[in-house]
């Protein structure tokens, strides 16, 4: 068996209507269509279901005591805002998806369907609206993100060493060393006190110098919302001001070998008096 004639594909272009009615009339007509109304209704319902997710997300993040710093507050606010602003677009997408399953009819059976759907090649209005909507959304997310990044960077004082703090409040320098599979914290200004639990006073800026003695680790103070890699051969910096008393988690967030899972410790946020007492007990000097 063979094909004698080369298979060709027939042109089946529907003709464009030439004398279209006015735009407002077309919009009214479009909005009066049953499926349009049902999709809009479905979008609103789905949107209303998605928006509460913003609180659910924050709920899970707060289970272990977060937020314990202004940085973490900003992170959670960003999550919240992103969920809410993405909701309309998600809702429309999912509404069309679900509606299309049966809404315009469906075909079952073994043979290719004979009944064809409308030959919509493109729709300038839809394309422009979609691109505009996604661009505005992306633009908003970018601007929000850039502002937030600047904000948390200034909270972290990530580029200002301890002795150059602008507001006169002296930050506590802490040298963080990661090695397989422990964290070591050294307080150079407190007489080089060394500890494997991070003990810090509340409401005082902390400034971390982070390095590693072997492989890449990642210094993650979970409830305070800071994270930075501990790289061998390089010093990285971050900072935070804890504003909640309590004990929080420090975990290694970069696979570092055999006992990566156990490379975790605690950060205790205590009052200034308790911190001074602890430093004395460890044999260090009192904070200046």
């Amino acid at each position: 068996m063979s094909i004698d004639n080369p298979p060709t594909i027939e042109v089946d272009q529907p003709e464009e209507p030439t004398n279209r009615p006015a735009a407002d009339h077309r919009l009214k007509e479009w909005l009066s269509r049953g499926y349009v109304r049902r999709i809009i209704a479905l979008s609103i319902v789905i949107g209303l279901l998605i928006i509460p997710l913003a609180w659910v997300v924050i709920h899970f993040m707060n289970l272990s005591g977060a937020p314990a710093s202004a940085i973490m507050v900003e992170i959670e606010r960003t999550m919240f805002v992103f969920t809410v602003v993405s909701a309309p677009l998600m809702a429309i997408t999912l509404a069309i998806l679900f509606y299309s399953l049966t809404g315009w009819g469906r075909v079952t059976g073994e043979d290719p369907p004979m009944q064809e759907s409308p030959a919509i090649r493109t729709n300038g209005t839809a394309v422009v609206l979609w691109i505009a909507a996604t661009s505005i959304l992306a633009g908003f997310l970018v601007i929000w993100g850039l502002v937030e990044l600047a904000t948390i960077t200034s909270y972290a004082n990530g580029s200002t060493p301890a002795n150059q703090q602008p507001n006169g409040q002296k930050a506590i320098d802490i040298n963080v060393t990661g090695q397989q599979w422990v964290w070591t914290f050294q307080y150079p200004d407190q007489g080089a006190v060394t500890s494997d639990t991070l003990i810090v006073p509340i409401n005082v800026p902390l400034y971390f110098n982070v390095t590693s003695k072997d492989v890449v680790h990642d210094f993650w103070v979970v409830e305070l919302g800071i994270k930075i890699d501990a790289n061998p051969g390089a010093i990285t910096n971050t900072g935070v001001t804890p504003d909640k008393l309590g004990t929080f988690n420090i975990r290694c967030a970069e696979l570092c070998g055999l006992h990566h899972a156990y490379m975790q410790t605690k950060i205790q946020v205590v009052t200034q008096a308790e911190f001074d007492a602890w430093v004395r007990e460890m044999g260090g000097k009192r904070t200046v």
């Binding site: 080369p6 089946d12 272990s64 299309s100 759907s117 979609w130 993100g145 994270k227």
Partner: protein, 647 residues
């Protein structure tokens, strides 16, 4: 016909001198000779090498480790090179260099003419053979990776004990990762890019048939080094094998590096071949606005693979050199830098995600028009979307490195570029939604995959928006949230799209229909298991569970139990689907040449597809999306009447 593009006039073409029987030495080579020669060479290399380079009983630990690494690397490369020699891969280049060009009979022999099933075990150049080989290989790798995933979830589900040794667990996650990455890179472009694409554009074969065979057999040769790592200490460092942790690793790591180096060559030649084929071999009349969208998707994916894969390859070559000749690219004590590795790695690492997602998406666009009987919505927007993703994907890699401390201010521009890529990616969603709009879906399995994949893309896309933001990433980086997100993109959007493509083109490749009932059951079981697994993994990530751990706080127990239940469900679903594929391949209902009523060229030729695809090369006069009837609402509007209701 007088107006066909190229009539196959072999008789008129003066042929070079035929040396011996057609095929020459390739008459005698096959996977058997390849494996035999490869194994012998590997054993000989190891024996000679261990005699000379690693004296037994060496006391200097460093020297013996470097020597042993070099020995293992040499053994692996001996296997790869001599396997390729043994299967006959070098016959072509050598004949070319000597001027003994292939005759038409040689070429036909190499394409597997009259060799029956045995041609699947030889260095066969026919693109249909290569496509089928790729399909089997992808299924094998997915099965292997899936099995490892089950073991990982078993460990994480049993929260009260360590099931595996931590080293073995770390090897599991690393091997699972890289096996799945390789599988997903090949799973659409391999089988369907090779089997379907040349027929789709009306060509007789790929542009470079021998490179086609080369790409598959290089991949085949790369698998044993990877698989053997589990017996040699394993890849304990995740699929990213960050340095310098990887230089501490046992010799199993060499297998990873050799595999990536060889696989990069395989991907490179496959990409060169696919792009050249699509650009230069289209049938007469198939202008760029008539090319099926799947072809555009494959080109986009190949361009990214071609341009960026060498970065990954060289990152591993330098890593290998650190291990075997003790250079210090990634050894900070001797002046190396971990950030160098991370940059080289992610320069491919990010485009690679789109290498996986784009061909799958394009395949779904190709098939959804057939099941909706509608033209593709806004073909040009789809092309713009692919082009935009390809373009921007090469300038977003630093978003994997926000938290590495490398150039903290780089967060600003790379957050910008990462958020921007959602715009062209949105184009692709628009095209799919616009095609769904007002269509009556024929709800067969391939079409249902479209729905599943759009859902997964929405979830994966929105969570990706969180992660692209530096402040949020400061919390999420390295957590289970990231794992859940990229599984939604790679598995939810990549693998499920590949399942749709498999169900769609299965009749063309095998001549039989895929069992609709069994296949659908398997697919939906896997789909809902997938939502459970990774939905609860999002929760674990939000709570602050780091990834790649085998023990964790009790706070994460519930979500991990749910994840494990979901993972087993995926496993069951995938086994059912695999069973459906195997039984349908052996004894499914014969399909005829065009069971779906498709208009692209691959459905116009007969099934099974003859050796050179078309008896006469086709001439194309329009794009393949001429489905549908005029919009009834246009008539209503024109008459300026109020519509009565839904059409």
């Amino acid at each position: 016909m007088t107006d066909t593009a190229v009539v196959h006039q072999t008789h008129d073409v003066p042929q070079p001198k035929q040396h011996g029987k057609p095929g020459g030495i390739l008459r005698h080579t096959s996977i058997v000779t390849g494996t035999a020669l490869g194994l012998v060479a590997a054993i000989v290399t190891y024996a000679i090498g261990s005699h000379f380079f690693v004296p037994w009983g060496t006391t200097n630990a460093d020297a013996s480790q470097v020597g042993l690494n070099a020995l293992v690397a040499a053994t692996y490369f001996a296997w790869v090179i001599f396997f390729m020699i043994g299967i006959g891969a070098f016959a072509g280049p050598i004949r070319w260099a000597l001027g003994h060009d292939l005759t038409h009979d040689d070429a036909e022999y190499m394409a597997g003419k009259d060799q029956g099933k045995w041609r699947y075990w030889k260095y066969t150049t026919d693109h249909k053979v290569v496509g089928t080989q790729y399909l089997i290989m992808a299924m094998f790798l997915l099965g292997l990776g899936g099995l490892l995933a089950m073991l990982i979830r078993t460990e994480l589900g049993i929260t009260w004990a360590e099931v595996f040794d931590p080293n073995f667990y770390n090897s599991l996650i690393g091997t699972h990762g890289i096996v799945m990455i390789i599988a997903l890179i090949i799973v659409v472009t391999g089988p369907f890019g090779n089997f379907i694409l040349p027929i789709m554009i009306g060509a007789r074969d790929m542009a470079f048939p021998r490179l086609n065979a080369l790409s598959f057999w290089l991949l085949f040769a790369a698998i044993p080094p990877l698989a053997s790592n589990l017996f040699l200490g394993g890849i304990r460092d995740g699929w990213t094998v960050y340095q310098p942790l990887a230089s501490q690793a046992p010799i199993g790591m060499i297998g990873y590096q050799v595999t990536i180096i060889v696989f990069a060559f395989s991907t490179g030649v496959a990409s060169v071949n696919l792009i050249t084929t699509s650009v230069t071999m289209r049938a007469r009349g198939m202008t760029w606005n008539r090319v099926p969208i799947f072809v555009i998707g494959v080109i986009a994916s190949s361009v990214m693979g071609l341009v960026w894969f060498p970065m990954f390859q060289y990152s591993q070559m330098l890593a290998l050199s650190d291990k075997v000749i003790a250079t210090s690219f990634y050894n900070p004590i001797m002046g190396g830098s971990v950030w160098l590795y991370e940059n080289l790695f992610w320069l491919l690492g990010h485009p690679e995600v789109y290498v996986v997602v784009i061909p799958g998406t394009a395949a779904l666009m190709e098939l959804m028009v057939v099941f909706l009987r509608k033209p593709l919505f806004s073909y040009k927007v789809a092309i713009a979307g692919f082009a935009g993703v390809v373009g921007i994907s090469s300038i977003v890699w630093v978003h994997h490195m926000y938290m590495t401390g490398w150039a903290p201010s780089a967060g600003y521009p790379f957050m910008l570029s990462t958020e921007l890529i959602s715009i062209p990616f949105g184009f692709l969603v628009l095209v799919m939604l616009g095609t769904l709009w007002r269509g009556k879906p024929w709800t067969r399995l391939p079409m249902m995959c479209v729905y599943a994949v759009i859902w997964d893309k929405v979830v994966g896309g929105i969570t990706g928006v969180y992660l692209s933001d530096v402040p949020v990433d400061q919390y999420m980086h390295g957590s289970m949230f990231v794992v859940a997100h990229f599984h939604y993109m790679l598995m939810g959007a990549g693998l499920f799209a590949a399942i749709g493509a498999t169900a769609y083109w299965f009749p063309k490749m095998t001549g039989r229909m895929l069992d609709e009932r069994l296949g659908s059951i398997g697919f939906w079981v896997a789909f809902f298991g997938f939502q459970l697994t990774f939905g609860s993994m999002f929760v674990a990530g939000l709570q602050g569970m780091p990834r790649r751990v085998l023990q964790f706080d009790n706070a994460f127990n519930i979500s991990n139990w749910l994840s494990t239940v979901g993972a087993y469900t995926i496993g069951i679903g995938m086994l059912i689907f695999l069973y459906a594929v195997i039984t349908s391949w052996r004894s499914g209902k014969p399909s005829g040449s065009n069971p779906w009523g498709g208009k692209t060229l691959e459905w116009q030729t007969e099934t099974p597809v003859p050796l050179e695809n078309f008896p006469v090369l086709p001439v194309v006069t329009s794009d393949p999306y001429g489905y549908g009837v005029p919009d009834p609402y246009d008539a209503v509007l024109e008459a300026d009447k109020q519509p009565a209701g839904v059409a």
